[in-house]
């Protein structure tokens, strides 16, 4: 594989992750945070008074990381943040499995797209691999980073 092919693969991976994070975050942002809080409630991971603030925060984080990856801004850091997000999602879903909590819908993409927890964990694993690929080639078509760093001070 040539360097340009590797760059293209990393940029494609980054774009895919960005679009998934943006779709998930924007979809959740359209609905009331109380709806996502009601989904989070079923995970039994957060104290009740944290549910609503967290349900407002998470979609914004997804949109932030998605935007950063799409525009090629601080690619290494944003790819690491995406990996951390997907790892946290897998951890949360796995913990419900281990505790025997049945989840019909993980609520990962808001209420519009229903995915079984098992399917989401598989998808998140693929996305972690793609985030790693994106992280290994942070300069691949990263136009905001390239614009920031071009030329002299």
């Amino acid at each position: 594989m040539t360097d340009s092919q590797k760059d293209a693969a990393a940029a494609t991976a980054r774009t895919l992750i960005a679009l998934i994070l943006l779709a998930s975050g924007v979809h959740k942002s359209f609905a009331a945070p109380e709806e996502f809080a009601a989904v989070l409630e079923k995970y039994y991971l957060l104290p009740p008074h944290w549910l609503l603030p967290f349900s407002r925060l998470l979609p914004a984080v997804e949109v932030l990381v998605g935007t950063a990856m799409l525009l090629g801004w601080r690619v290494k850091a944003s790819s690491t943040a995406a990996m951390a997000c997907f790892l946290a999602f897998i951890g949360a879903l796995l913990s419900t499995k281990l505790r025997g909590i049945p989840l019909e819908d993980c609520g990962c993409f808001g209420k519009g797209i229903h995915m079984k927890p098992e399917a989401t964990m598989a998808l998140d694993s693929v996305l972690i691999a793609l985030s790693y690929l994106s992280r290994t080639r942070p300069k691949a078509f990263a136009w905001l980073d390239a614009w920031t760093q071009r030329g002299s001070d």
């Binding site: 609905a31 009331a32 949109v63 935007t67 801004w73 905001l144 614009w147 001070d153």
Partner: protein, 214 residues
């Protein structure tokens, strides 16, 4: 255009944060809060309640059935101040939900909406597992008969497409306002989803609104 690396770095940060603010905050501005209303027979409580709870519910949804006692408890706490209006949010993956809503509408036209509402929720485990819509329709008719409703009028109402349109209109309204979970309660423009939010945050909202109005 920013000329130094530092200014371009700042501009990049602002572009990303600005885009995030628009994408994460904008959608909520497109779905403003509103005050849902319904026909008089779907309202319960005092004639001019200080606070109205709009309940978006699906008769075949177990969480809606579980929330019913909590809603009842709030109404009993403030019998002269708090009212409720029922709104249909039947899901297409619940095969008998629309027909149950239609049956409740027909009971409502005979002045017994809330009795029928309570009956549907209390017997939900029995009728929600019925395999055919015919069997469920027969069950809804039998329930009306047991409540002493006029059999012919109930049957005619249940078959009238205009009744189904009332249910469909509520579902459409809920969809347009992004009510994507049941039960959703709207109290003074704020949403509360599920029993837990209703009995904690929802009850606080009712108390705060009553304090403001007293």
């Amino acid at each position: 255009m920013p000329k130094t690396r530092a200014s371009r770095s700042l501009a990049s940060t602002l572009i990303v944060l600005g885009t995030t603010a628009v994408l994460a905050g904008g959608p909520r501005l497109l779905t403003p809060e509103w005050v849902p209303d319904g026909p008089p027979y779907r309202k319960k409580g005092p004639a001019n309640p200080a606070v109205v709870i709009a309940e978006f519910s699906d008769f075949q949804c177990p969480a809606c059935s579980a929330a019913a006692p909590h809603l009842k408890a709030i109404l009993e706490l403030f019998p002269d101040k708090v009212g409720v209006v029922f709104k249909h949010r039947a899901w297409d993956f619940h095969p008998h939900a629309v027909n149950a809503g239609v049956a409740a509408e027909c009971a409502g036209k005979a002045g017994r909406f809330w009795d029928y509402h309570d009956k549907l929720f209390s017997t939900q485990p029995a009728w929600s597992v019925m395999e055919s819509t015919g069997a469920a329709a027969a069950y809804f008719q039998k329930t009306a008969d047991e409540m002493g409703l006029d059999r012919a009028a109930f049957a005619a109402c249940a078959k009238n497409p205009a009744t189904a349109e009332l249910v469909a209109a509520d579902i459409k309204e809920a969809g347009e306002k992004w009510v994507n979970s049941t039960p959703t309660f709207i109290i003074g423009g704020k949403r509360f989803v599920g029993s837990n939010q209703l009995r904690t945050l929802g009850l606080n909202q009712v108390e705060n609104l009553l304090k403001k109005k007293s």
